[in-house]
């Protein structure tokens, strides 16, 4: 389980996160919502280790990982699918997937079948260069690569941004499936409320670097959610 | 106007620096010329020339600090300007030899006779006159710097790429000057000088005068640098160093500023080279060696870039260490020592000696004022 306790994050003198606290459990999807610039990506950067927090702690599976750098966190099962996909354009789809082997032990280095059953298009495009794929296909590749890492915590930053509706459905199905495995804790950052509402077990809305509204799916008050997200 | 500039340029440490150099400029000749050789404080003449050499290096370091410490231009080829100034002076000194040379030709230097040249090349004309040679000392490096800078800065070449092409510049010049048919003495260079402005180059008094002039040159260059740095022009230079794009965005023609300060720096380096040559008695193409230019930058880094006084200190300290280490059992290891020094300074003392001192005093000052403010709540900007 992930336990984020009152973290602050600064870029130089500018504060991007203010006392953010969050929990994520395996088999549950935690949605982090909010407009542009509220700090959603900064939060994921903090969780992935890309940017150090200036205060607070991050505990994962009982261990304090606050000081750990990204490769160490990857080895502990934390996978990050960043905004903008960031797949390697000059590597083939297969090679891109294989980059997910990096934190794994020698005998674990295989691409799980799940990846191809969730995203069949990847199977048919194994030999194509990553840069030749459409935005939606790249997004599927990015998620597939994260899955190759055998993650126990999956961080997704706006996976639907700029993607066509049919592929959004595929991605939604994939996230549902991963949740049903009950082994992976999923944190989904989104601006697309309807998509998040369908998948989320827990919701947190951010504003100016802090969480201003937090609720589980059962207690969710639609009006409050909309108000927190609108202008 | 000048008084205003002087007041602006001379703060406490600058005045202190000038006083120290002036004291040295006077003290060294006194210790050499007035004291008997048996006295404990007597300074041997060879040391006077050695110190003179250090003074020229200090001037070169000042010229590098001006563009590197205050404008962020890292020239790894400044030795070229130093050497060009040196060659200009060397050509004047060669013309003074006249019939006292081995081949006793009144016009042609020995090496040209040896090469079977019948006539003095055109580019040697005029060097028998000191004013002309003095002009060339400043003009040749200055012109080269101007043309080089014009192309480099206008093409927006910066950072490491600029440093690399300055290395290429000095390397190319070295190769050229090594060639015998270049007409500058080939790999032997210019040497065996007899006199300068009528005075015997080797005489004790001449050596002392040259030393004092070198110190004076340092003082004047230091003042000039201070005047530039404390002017609005200097503030623009620092702005360019810290945020070039922003400075351009404010409407300043960054290329023109860089070109001006780079040319000025080259002229200073040329003068340093010109004062160097009569004191060491020789100028040869190895002065163009890329390694020399890099060493000069190390002097500035050790002393503290962006402090001016640090450049002078660094030049003296490192060259003293070099003299110390290369005349003894540790001689073969000098290059390792230099490398280790560079690494140590970069890792442990990145601000250099003077820079670190400035930093400590600033820290102590801030801590004192923070302690004074203790107990008062942090003032909001809007009051």
């Amino acid at each position: 389980m992930l336990d984020v306790n009152a973290i602050d994050l600064h870029y130089g003198a500018a504060q991007a996160l203010r006392a953010v606290s969050l929990k994520a459990e395996p088999g549950k999807v935690t949605c982090v919502l909010g407009r542009n610039g509220v700090g959603k990506t900064s939060l994921l950067d903090a969780l992935a280790g890309q940017h150090a927090v200036t205060r607070g702690t991050i505990t994962w599976e009982g261990n304090d990982i606050t000081a750990l750098r990204p490769p160490e966190r990857a080895r502990r099962g934390i996978a990050y699918v960043p905004q903008g996909r960031e797949i390697f354009p000059l590597l083939t789809v297969e090679e891109n997937l294989k980059t997910g082997f990096a934190p794994l032990k020698r005998d674990e280095c295989t691409v799980p079948d799940d990846v191809f059953s969730l995203f069949p298009v990847l199977q048919s495009m194994l030999r194509r260069c990553g840069g030749d794929l459409s935005g939606g296909q790249q997004q599927q590749l990015a998620i597939g690569r994260a899955l190759v890492m055998r993650p126990r915590l999956l961080l997704l930053d706006e996976p639907t941004e700029g993607i066509q509706p049919s592929i959004i459905k595929d991605i939604g199905r994939a996230i549902s499936y991963l949740r049903s495995l009950s082994k992976i804790a999923i944190i989904l950052v989104e601006q697309y409320l309807d998509f998040a509402r369908e998948l989320g077990d827990h919701f947190a809305v951010m504003e100016r670097g802090a969480i201003v509204y937090s609720s589980s799916r059962d207690d969710l008050y639609e009006g409050a959610l909309r108000r927190a997200m609108a202008i | 106007m000048t008084t205003h500039i002087l007041i602006r340029s001379l703060d406490r440490s600058a005045t202190l620096f000038l006083i120290i150099i002036a004291a040295i400029a006077i003290g060294v000749p006194v210790l050499n010329l007035t004291l008997p050789e048996t006295s404990a404080l007597y300074l041997p003449t060879y040391l006077v020339s050695l110190f003179g050499k250090y003074a020229c290096y200090a001037l070169l370091a000042l010229s590098i600090d001006l563009i590197w410490g205050y404008c962020g231009i890292l020239s790894l080829g400044h030795g070229a300007f130093f050497a060009l100034g040196g060659y200009a002076m060397g050509m004047y000194l060669m013309r003074q030899i006249g019939t006292r040379g081995v081949y006793a030709d009144p016009i042609l230097p020995d090496f040209m006779v040896f090469l079977n040249w019948k006539q003095l090349p055109v580019y040697w004309y005029g060097f028998q006159f000191f004013p002309y040679a003095a002009l060339m000392v400043v003009l040749v490096p200055g012109l080269l710097a101007f043309v080089f800078g014009w192309f480099a800065f206008r093409s927006r070449v910066t950072g490491v790429y600029l440093s690399i092409i300055t290395q290429a510049l000095t390397f190319a010049l070295m190769l050229g000057f090594f060639r015998n048919n270049f007409g500058f003495g080939g790999n032997n260079g210019l040497t065996d000088f007899k006199d300068i402005l009528g005075f015997n180059v080797q005489a004790e008094t001449t050596r002392n005068v040259l030393f004092s002039i070198s110190c004076l040159a340092n003082m004047l260059a230091f003042l000039l640098c201070r005047a530039v740095i404390t002017s609005k022009f200097g503030k623009v230079l620092i702005a360019i160093r810290d945020a070039e794009a922003r400075t351009r965005f404010l409407g300043y023609r960054v290329e023109s500023y860089k070109l001006l300060v780079f040319t000025l720096s080259a002229c200073m380096a040329g003068i340093a080279g010109a004062l160097y040559v009569p004191q060491v008695g020789i100028i040869n193409p190895s002065e163009f060696a890329p390694g020399n230019s890099i060493e000069a930058v190390i002097w500035v880094a050790v002393g503290g870039r962006g402090t001016l006084t640090g450049a002078v200190l660094g030049a003296v300290v490192v060259n003293y260490a070099k003299t110390f280490f290369t005349t003894g059992v540790l001689a073969p290891y000098w290059l390792f020592m230099l490398g280790a020094l560079f690494i140590a300074v970069t890792l442990l003392l990145p601000r250099g000696i003077i820079g670190t001192l400035h930093h400590w005093t600033a820290l102590r000052r801030d801590r004192a004022s923070a302690a004074a403010e203790d107990g008062v709540t942090e003032p909001l900007p809007a009051e």
Binding site: A13, A14, L193 | H4, R253
Partner: protein, 249 residues
């Protein structure tokens, strides 16, 4: 050519495409002289591209941008547009850290920028007064001798706004000024901009809705490269299309 419009800034049918993607799509709106306008909009709405077009960084494929009724900005380059009096403040403060607050403003002050002029420059009483004036507006008089690198994030933003003011612009384009500021600083920035608005026309792009509310000015909401709604913040925030767009597709 007679003035086409009385507006200070008039965007007319501006379209900008990047590789088939329309960043600005037939965008039209006007800013009156002396006005302060807030531009909001979700991700990808085209706010930054719009400012790039106005300042001359990007040339539009279609449409015109008229300034002061007589200048077509789409035909001028960045320097010419800056000289016309259009100043832009970027999101990230880029002040000169090793210079004092005062020197930062001095460098930004409208003056002869040539190397020769700066070599011989001496501070005049008028210039000193102007800088002191600006220091007061941006509330940094107390720290005028401090190095800019030691300022708080909010103070750096204000200094940068001050540097923009020093160039005497007619129109200020301010990009996300309160990103990363504390609540107190955010409120002070709203006050600061209102004061500046007394003598300059200001266009502010922001995500922070509390700040936009504080400004209390007309709001233009962009979406996918064109204007979605315009009005007061209350009108815009209750506009159904706007609500939909901010909540998703």
């Amino acid at each position: 050519m007679a003035a086409l419009t009385s507006s200070l800034l008039y965007l007319d049918g501006v379209t900008v495409s990047f590789d088939g993607f329309k960043a600005l799509n037939n965008l039209s709106f006007a800013i009156e002289a002396g006005e302060m306008r807030a531009i909001i909009g979700p991700n990808g709405a085209g706010k930054t591209t719009m400012m790039d077009v106005v300042t001359g960084k990007t040339r539009p494929d279609l449409g015109d941008v008229m300034f002061d009724g007589q200048y077509n900005l789409t035909r001028l380059d960045e320097t010419e547009i800056a000289e016309l009096g259009i100043g832009r403040k970027f999101q990230k403060p880029t002040v000169f850290d090793s210079h004092t607050v005062f020197d930062n403003l001095e460098l930004a002050l409208k003056s002869n920028r040539s190397p020769r002029a700066t070599l011989w420059w001496r501070e005049s009483a008028t210039e000193r007064r102007r800088i002191d004036q600006i220091l007061e507006v941006i509330r940094l008089t107390a720290v005028s001798d401090r190095l800019a690198g030691g300022l708080s994030h909010g103070q750096k933003q204000w200094l940068e706004i001050g540097m923009l003011l020093a160039q005497d612009p007619k129109l200020l384009l301010v990009d996300e000024p309160v990103a990363g500021m504390t609540d107190v600083e955010t409120r002070q920035t709203a006050e600061l901009l209102k004061e500046i608005n007394r003598e300059h026309t200001v266009v502010v792009v922001e995500h922070d809705m509390a700040f936009v509310r504080d400004l209390g000015v007309k709001v233009t909401c962009l979406h996918e490269g064109s204007v979605l709604a315009e009005g007061t913040i209350d009108q815009v925030s209750t506009n159904e299309r706007v609500v939909e767009v901010y909540l998703g597709r």
